[in-house]
């Protein structure tokens, strides 16, 4: 096995789609600029050439229409991947996502299944303004019927996207644009990563840091710094928020007795809020201090770089939160 091969996340995602499209002729890809251009970040490069315009479709700017069409195709025998350029545009399709994609299986008593995967690239912190900056992930976590995936490495991205495409349930797959060029080991042999299995990205005994997406990298950086001060932090990457691997998080807290939860969303009713509530309910007696949240501020994202820095979670904020527990 050539496990030493390193590719970047965009390449890993491209491989995942390519392999699944080769394996399953019902897999199609639709979205804005996914075909001729190969995606605004090149994630679907070459797919049009290999699979043709029937299966790789550039769409008009009609998010409501083509997400609805993706659902209509999914309930009638296709296995579509729909790309929404950035999550900020998901609200244009939110009606179809929340009222149909998430619920058709339940509302029809299991007669319809919606094997649709929606991919979207978070561009938080890029400086493009507040409507090109959101993840909106909590909206989807709060919508029963959707699975929610938040990879942080090329390896996870590939294995999870393949699982998402094969999953019969609807999946919201959140990519992070600033991770696309990050390289990491990705085996050439096929592999899948099951949903609902967190990955411990770094082991530690004194503190648990739970983080998602690019914030896993910030958490790892923070853990390195904390180690210099004698604090051994464990970094847990849930990888999927629905289903959520509570067990790995709880077990880690039982070992370390302290937790910082890092979230790329506003704190109110966010991902960190939910994980904090679970820990409070299920591991309260093991805690040596309060559950700390490092989330974005509850404000729209500004454009000025120094203000963005104040708004978003980062290594320094994680370290500050962690130190309060010692």
């Amino acid at each position: 096995m050539s496990t030493q091969r390193e590719i970047n996340m965009a390449e890993a995602l491209n491989e995942a789609m390519r392999e699944e499209m080769r394996r399953d002729p019902t897999v199609i890809l639709m979205g804005e600029d996914v075909g001729v251009l190969g995606g605004v970040y090149g994630v679907s490069k070459g797919l049009l050439d290999e699979f043709g315009p029937e299966r790789v479709r550039d769409t008009p700017i009609s998010e409501d229409g083509f997400v609805g069409a993706g659902i209509g195709a999914a309930i009638t025998g296709l296995n579509p991947i729909v790309e929404i350029m950035y999550p900020d545009f998901l609200p244009c399709a939110m009606n179809q996502i929340t009222n149909h994609m998430a619920k058709l299986r339940y509302m029809t008593g299991g007669q319809l299944t919606v094997p649709l995967t929606i991919r979207s690239a978070i561009i938080q912190g890029r400086g493009s303004g507040a409507d090109h900056a959101q993840t909106l992930i909590p909206w989807f976590v709060q919508t029963p019927g959707l699975k929610v995936v938040v990879p942080s490495t090329p390896y996870d991205a590939k294995g999870l996207l393949k699982t998402a495409i094969r999953d019969k349930a609807p999946v919201m797959f959140f990519e992070t644009a600033k991770l696309y060029l990050n390289k990491g080991p990705v085996p050439e042999d096929e592999y899948l990563i099951p949903f609902g299995k967190a990955d411990i990205k770094r082991e530690g005994t004194d503190l648990t840091i739970v983080a998602i997406c690019n914030l896993v990298l910030e958490a790892l950086e923070a853990a390195k710094e904390l180690e210099k001060e004698g604090i051994k932090a464990e970094v847990v990457d849930p990888r999927t928020l629905v289903p959520l691997d509570k067990e790995t998080i709880i077990n880690s807290v039982k070992k370390t007795n302290r937790i910082v939860v890092v979230d790329n969303n506003p704190s109110a009713c966010g991902v960190a809020a939910e994980i904090a509530a679970i820990v409070a309910e299920e591991a309260f007696d093991y805690l040596d201090g309060p559950i700390m949240r490092v989330a974005t501020l509850q404000i729209p994202e500004p454009v000025a770089p120094p203000l963005i820095k104040l708004m978003l979670p980062n290594k320094e904020k994680i370290i500050t939160a962690a130190k309060k527990l010692f």
Binding site: D64, G65, A73, T76, Y106, M107
Partner: protein
């Protein structure tokens, strides 16, 4: 109506159009009665007066062809061939219902006869129809998708996006706008930029027909053009069938706060079932006795569905979390 249209409709077909309309009417009447008896969860939207549209279109579809519907879903569901018993049971929220008591009156689905789904989000069914048509095209199934919606839906973004998508991708969709002149209380005159919604087809480079939606024969013939076109891979069509609901928007709405009594009475005179019955009798296509027999047979079918629905159980707690994923 276009030249060269096949004017030949067999007598058998003409009689079956009558039967189907009576089925829709009597089924809806029964559901209204259920509602009045306090048996229905939620609200109820009846299609009384609009039967010709669902029936005239569905009579052109095969069992494999698909339909998307709306909050006013019973007519399309019954006309597409969903058994009355599972439909009635669903409307009462029973576990024997087509959606096991999870969908109810506005969310009916029975894919095995092509009743794909009815969405109660106004305008949201059209994108599903576009996707189903894309799927049919890529899987080469030769299915046609009929998407029913109201005049109100024709002002949603989803409607416009869907017409454009179906047009650029040449998909086998028949968009059927049931223009009953009102979206709840708002008259099309106050809500809609054009007199005939069908002219919007032009903007999406597809044929559009504005027709008398209370004339089941005209609906049938027009739908046939559209279905054949779709089947041949020539793309979508928009049909606007002008019609009227005899009841208010929902069961219990007197429908008089925004419509005059005279208007309602005038439209009731054009009842599509009365009209078609007269047509059949005047041309001796069917006898009085034959039609009365049909009425009786349908009454029996409805009575059986009633018994089935009433006797069925509600879902138990073991059903609660099934099919979430």
């Amino acid at each position: 109506m276009e030249k060269g249209l096949h004017n030949e409709i067999s007598n058998e077909k003409l009689v079956s159009l009558y039967r189907e309309m009576v089925r829709v009417r009597l089924f809806d009447d029964k559901m209204g009665e259920f509602y009045a008896r306090g048996l229905c969860p939620g609200t109820l939207h009846l299609s009384t007066g609009q039967e010709a549209v669902a029936v005239g279109v569905c009579a052109n579809l095969t069992k494999e062809d698909l339909v998307t519907s709306t909050h006013r879903a019973h007519a399309h569901t019954v006309a597409k061939g969903t058994p009355m018993n599972v439909t009635a049971a669903e409307i009462l929220g029973k576990v024997t219902g087509c959606c096991r008591g999870r969908g109810g009156t506005m969310h009916l689905s029975w894919p095995e006869v092509g009743m794909l789904y009815s969405s109660s989000i106004v305008g949201a069914g059209a994108p599903l129809a576009v996707g189903a048509a894309l799927s049919a095209t890529l899987r080469k199934t030769n299915q046609v998708i009929a998407s029913f919606f109201g005049d109100g839906a024709a002002n949603t973004g989803g409607f416009h996006e869907s017409l454009n998508l179906a047009s650029i991708w040449k998909l086998p969709v028949v968009f059927v706008c049931e223009n009953n002149l009102y979206a709840i209380s708002v008259s099309v005159k106050r809500s809609t930029s054009v007199k005939d919604i069908a002219v919007r087809a032009k903007a999406y480079n597809m044929p559009g027909f504005a027709i008398d939606g209370n004339d089941v024969i005209e609906v049938y013939k027009t739908a046939r053009i559209a279905v054949e076109r779709a089947r041949k891979g020539e793309g979508p069509t928009l049909i606007e069938a002008k019609t009227y609901r005899h009841h208010g928007h929902y069961y219990g709405d007197p429908g008089t706060a925004y419509r005059t009594k005279e208007e309602v009475e005038e439209w009731k005179k054009g009842d599509p079932i009365v009209r078609h019955r007269k047509y059949l009798l005047e041309r001796t296509i069917a006898s009085e006795e034959q039609l009365n027999n049909i009425d009786k047979e349908v009454e029996e079918e409805v009575a059986e569905a009633e018994k089935f629905a009433i006797d069925s159980e509600f879902p138990g707690p073991e059903e609660l979390e099934r099919f979430v994923f």
